[in-house]
């Protein structure tokens, strides 16, 4: 069976009645089932992404509480408030939570929410797998935090260096929990990455060739590819660690021919790209926000895209700069110093393009832009201290000190959290249909900005003053008290800023003024549909004829001819986005949830016995059989294009 789809001109007024009928039909087909079951089974990219975002911010709050506890402990020298055993669990959980359970998931969640809207399609490519990924992430995170609550939280750092994390020096279950649950939650990251890549490359609306793709979509595409290449390294490494601990292999045991440095190479081959996996989506936020409020296209779109891709490649070539203190041959030092410094060039290109965009634009100062501007200043500081730590001689002094703590918080909070909070304000109207309060948005920015600098700037000085990382206390006469007191005071201000921000979000959800479709006058396609978008995103899939489609004065034709009685989407060519075929997506199903439960049972049992792998596999076999049991009609129908 074949039918005809293709661009037709915008609907004539007489066709409004037909549109109403189509919308009703689409709503019947695409809406998520109501109630608790609907919550478990949802196949909507929007509801899964919102859940992801809320869960990630929940973990952010937990990680933030841990940070506050650490600041409390370090406020006074030789404090006995928190003992070393608990403190080590706290900083391990803080790092693991912020990296694995907050930063990466929240960025991917924004991608899952926004990418289908920005490229003009109805859903992500594999809606059930999307739901599966969320449950894996949630269960993994909950298990990790349950372990922490039971005082068996991991305590060897988020980097879990062997031999400290090996069976000889960390008996008990703590490191097993880390090694297995990190592998587990990374499955969710991989799932989201696959979703984003396939969705971006195969489901863009007609006309959106690669060179017209919004920069945010480019950023998510590059990020997703990085996830796919980086995550296997940590999954292999943590699985090897789990095997060393559980089934007596000796991958990392020097006494039996294993190697302690192998762990570091594998970990940082993942660990360094991880930073860019968090940072690149943030650049996508900034590009979108800057372009919107400068009221013009980004200067140097091709340069921006190439910078993103270059960052994606270079991000994999500098993991050794985390290992300079290990001792390297001189040539190796020069190579990895050069690679680490070189990545400043694509970052520089992006910063300069944003500055040029602001220069050439007509700036409308609104709260989301303020967060983006704060980002530019803080990220430049973080980038410069990054260049400092890239130089081997200097890194030998700075490595593993509070200087590095300061550096990566400037990069991760300044470089990723600031744009993220700006993005929350920016897209909140789209997600909930209400406008955030402008004044609260600005006030929360300034409090957070001041609090952030007060907290983290002194840490540079603490590092130069000789304070190593991951110490639960320091001596009274070490000269480190003042810096720590200032940092702790700053943490109070920073927390206040975040709380005002969250209050703004809460207020918006209840009382915010109605937003309308495009309250900011932005240009990407998500603003072409209602706020919040209907379950099917667009009544008729849009087409585009250039970058910045909503700023174009041209009439935008829409796609008609897609079936409204099944979940049908248009698959297009990967480069030119010319229509290729119609494809039927899966709807809500409880099997992804059950499969996630089966996998969780398997991994938790495997903490105690290798039989867990067998048990989990058998359970998963049952649920996967249910998931993939053939039903109904074939999924593809070829498309005949109308010129």
């Amino acid at each position: 069976m074949s039918s005809t789809v293709g661009p037709t001109s915008t609907l004539a007024p007489g066709e409004a009645a037909r549109e109403t009928l189509d919308r009703a039909a689409l709503e019947r087909v695409w809406s998520t089932p109501p109630g608790f079951l609907g919550w478990l089974t949802s196949a909507s990219h929007k509801s899964v992404a919102l859940r992801y975002i809320v869960t990630a911010f929940g973990f952010f709050a937990l990680g933030g509480v841990l940070a506050a506890l650490m600041r409390l402990q370090l406020t006074r020298p030789e404090s006995r408030l928190i003992g070393p055993d608990l403190y080590n669990q706290i900083f391990t959980m803080h790092g693991s939570t912020m990296m694995f359970l907050f930063a990466v998931p929240v960025m991917e969640a924004f991608g899952i929410y926004l990418v289908p809207l920005m490229i003009g399609t109805r859903n992500v490519a594999f809606p059930r797998m999307n739901n599966f990924g969320y449950w894996i992430y949630l269960f993994g995170g909950l298990m990790l935090w349950t372990a922490f609550a039971l005082d068996i939280g991991p305590d060897t750092g988020w980097f879990a260096y062997v031999p400290l994390s090996g069976p000889a020096y960390s008996p008990g279950k703590r490191v097993d929990i880390w090694a297995q649950l990190i592998t587990f939650t990374e499955i969710a990251a991989l799932v989201a990455a696959v979703e984003l890549i396939v969705t971006t490359l195969k489901m863009r609306c007609p006309g959106m060739s690669l060179n017209r793709m919004p920069l945010f979509v480019w950023a998510m595409l590059v990020t997703a590819f990085m996830v796919i290449f980086a995550m296997p390294a940590i999954m292999v490494a943590s699985t090897m660690l789990a095997m060393d601990r559980l089934v007596d292999t000796h991958f990392f045991n020097p006494a039996e021919g294993g190697d302690a440095l192998l762990w570091q190479h594998l970990f940082w081959f993942f660990g360094h790209p991880e930073v860019y996996i968090i940072f690149i989506p943030a650049t996508g936020f900034v590009s979108t926000i800057v372009s919107t409020f400068a009221r013009r296209r980004i200067v140097g779109y091709p340069a921006m895209v190439l910078a993103l891709i270059a960052t994606g490649f270079l991000g994999f070539s500098l993991w050794v700069h985390h290992m300079f203190a290990v001792g390297l041959p001189q040539l190796g030092e020069a190579f990895f110093t050069a690679a680490s410094m070189m990545i400043a060039i694509p970052s520089g290109i992006q910063v300069f393009c944003w500055l040029a965009t602001l220069r050439g634009g007509r700036i409308v100062m609104r709260a989301p832009l303020l967060w983006a501007l704060g980002f530019i200043a803080l990220f430049v500081i973080g980038g410069l201290t990054g260049v400092m730590t890239a130089a081997v001689p200097l890194d030998l002094q700075l490595h593993d000190t509070y200087f590095v703590v300061a550096h990566f918080h400037y990069v991760l909070i300044g470089g990723a959290l600031f744009p993220l909070l700006g993005a929350v304000l920016f897209w909140l109207p789209k997600m909930c249909g209400r406008m955030p309060d402008e004044r609260l948005g600005r006030v929360s920015f300034w409090i957070t900005f001041v609090g952030f600098n007060l907290t983290f700037f002194p840490m540079h000085l603490l590092g130069l003053g000789g304070m190593p990382r991951r110490v639960y206390t320091y001596a009274r006469d070490a000269g480190l008290t003042t810096g720590n007191v200032v940092a702790s005071a700053g943490a109070v201000v920073l927390t206040a800023g975040i709380l005002v921000f969250l209050a703004n979000v809460a207020w918006t959800l209840r009382r915010g003024a109605p937003a309308g479709d495009d309250p900011w006058g932005a240009e990407t396609l998500e603003w072409a549909t209602a706020s919040p978008p209907p379950s099917y995103n667009f009544a008729y899939l849009p087409t585009v004829d250039g970058q910045a489609p909503l700023w174009s004065t041209q009439e935008r034709p829409v796609v008609t001819g897609l079936r409204t009685d099944v979940r049908e989407v248009l698959i297009t060519d990967g480069v030119d986005a010319t229509p290729d075929h119609r494809h039927r997506l899966d709807g809500a199903s409880v099997w992804p949830f059950l499969t996630a439960v089966a996998a969780t049972i398997g991994v938790v049992t495997a903490l105690f016995t290798p039989w867990g792998v067998t048990i989990g596999s058998l359970l998963a076999l049952v649920t996967l059989t249910g998931w993939f049991w053939p039903r109904g009609a074939p999924a593809h129908e070829t498309v005949e294009q109308r010129p």
Partner: protein, 334 residues
């Protein structure tokens, strides 16, 4: 805001660099690194100031946006913006080349120090203390000590770092950058003190529950003072003649102490804990956790876990008299 921050930073750096070992070098290696630091610092400060100034200028002179966004662009403006970006990127690349070349040059310089006759030390990290051995071709002339390193001013010191348990990192910021102690891998660095003084060293790699209390002291002395110290360290302990201290000696040898600690010239030959042959000559106890006074030593022996929770040393239930005798013996280990 950020410009203010950088001014604050500069002032703060100037004000307290005396307290900052990284910027208050005591030897040529640390001095070389500090020089490089100041090059990078001022270049960075310049770049940050330029970016922030440009941003603030842009915001201060922004055009008012009345009309909605449009895709109509003035080609001359676009070309000027593109040229500006290109120039900034070019400058960035140039700066990075400068930093790379100076970094490599600094690295080469650090490697070139060493001299012909360095003093050779083997520093082994343990959870959570440092074992130090002064190497000598004649085995009987080697000296073993713990948590305190004496070096002669002006002579290069080759430090070989190793570990037999987990990864540690040997770091004396006043003298040089850090070098990891990795089980299964040997590594080394050359440092040198150009002035007499005490430099604090710390373990810089997270190594478990008492990572925070794993310090060591590097004491740089004039060569003749150092030689005298080394000679003194070569002497074995003598069995005390005083009856009270002799009782302490017996307690040490028959009690749990000798299982883990060595006192040269006595039956005590344990290697689990620090060598105590010259305990009384050291300034600190428990790897820099406590000053070495009789009171602290008594408290440490009775209940190490109170001071350093998780430390490998168990508590010891000595009566008051026994403890005093033990302290008298240990006090004689100078």
């Amino acid at each position: 805001m950020s410009r203010a921050a950088i001014v604050v930073a500069a002032v703060a750096c100037a004000a307290c660099s005396g307290r900052m070992p990284v910027l208050d070098p005591g030897g040529p290696q640390a001095a070389r690194i500090a020089t490089y630091w100041w090059i990078v610092f001022w270049l960075s400060a310049l770049i940050l100031a330029a970016v922030v100034a440009f941003l603030l200028h842009t915001l201060a002179h922004r055009r008012v946006a009345a009309a909605p966004a449009s895709l109509v662009e003035d080609t001359r403006v676009e070309r000027r913006l593109a040229l500006g970006v290109a120039a900034a990127v070019g400058l960035t690349a140039l700066t990075l080349v400068v930093l790379l070349v100076t970094s490599v040059a600094t690295g080469r310089a650090l490697r070139s120090f060493g001299g012909t006759d360095p003093l050779t030390l083997e520093v082994t990290g343990y959870q959570w203390w440092w074992d130090v051995e002064y190497w000598d071709p004649v085995p009987s002339q080697r000296v073993r000590t713990a948590n305190e390193i004496h070096i002669p001013v002006g002579r290069p010191v080759l430090v070989k770092t190793r570990s037999l348990d987990v990864i540690h990192s040997f770091w004396v910021p006043g003298l040089h950058g850090k070098k990891d102690n990795i089980p299964g891998h040997g590594s080394s660095l050359v440092l040198q003190a150009d002035r007499a003084g005490t430099f604090i060293g710390r373990c810089a790699e997270f190594c478990g529950v008492q990572h925070a209390h794993m310090q060591l002291l590097v004491i740089a002395d004039q060569p003749e003072v150092f030689d005298a110290w080394l000679q003194a360290q070569r002497r074995s302990a003598v069995v005390p003649t005083d009856a009270f201290a002799r009782h302490g000696f017996d307690l040490f040898m028959t009690g749990p102490c000798a299982l883990c600690h060595t006192v040269l010239g006595t039956p005590a030959g344990g290697r689990r804990g620090p060598d105590l042959t010259h305990l009384a000559s050291r300034r600190t106890l428990a790897a820099g956790t406590l000053p070495n006074t009789v009171g602290h030593l008594a408290g440490w022996i009775i209940d190490p876990q109170a001071q350093k929770p998780g430390a490998q040393m168990p508590g010891n239930a000595f009566g008051a008299d026994d403890l005093s005798a033990l302290l008298a013996f240990l006090g004689g280990l100078s």
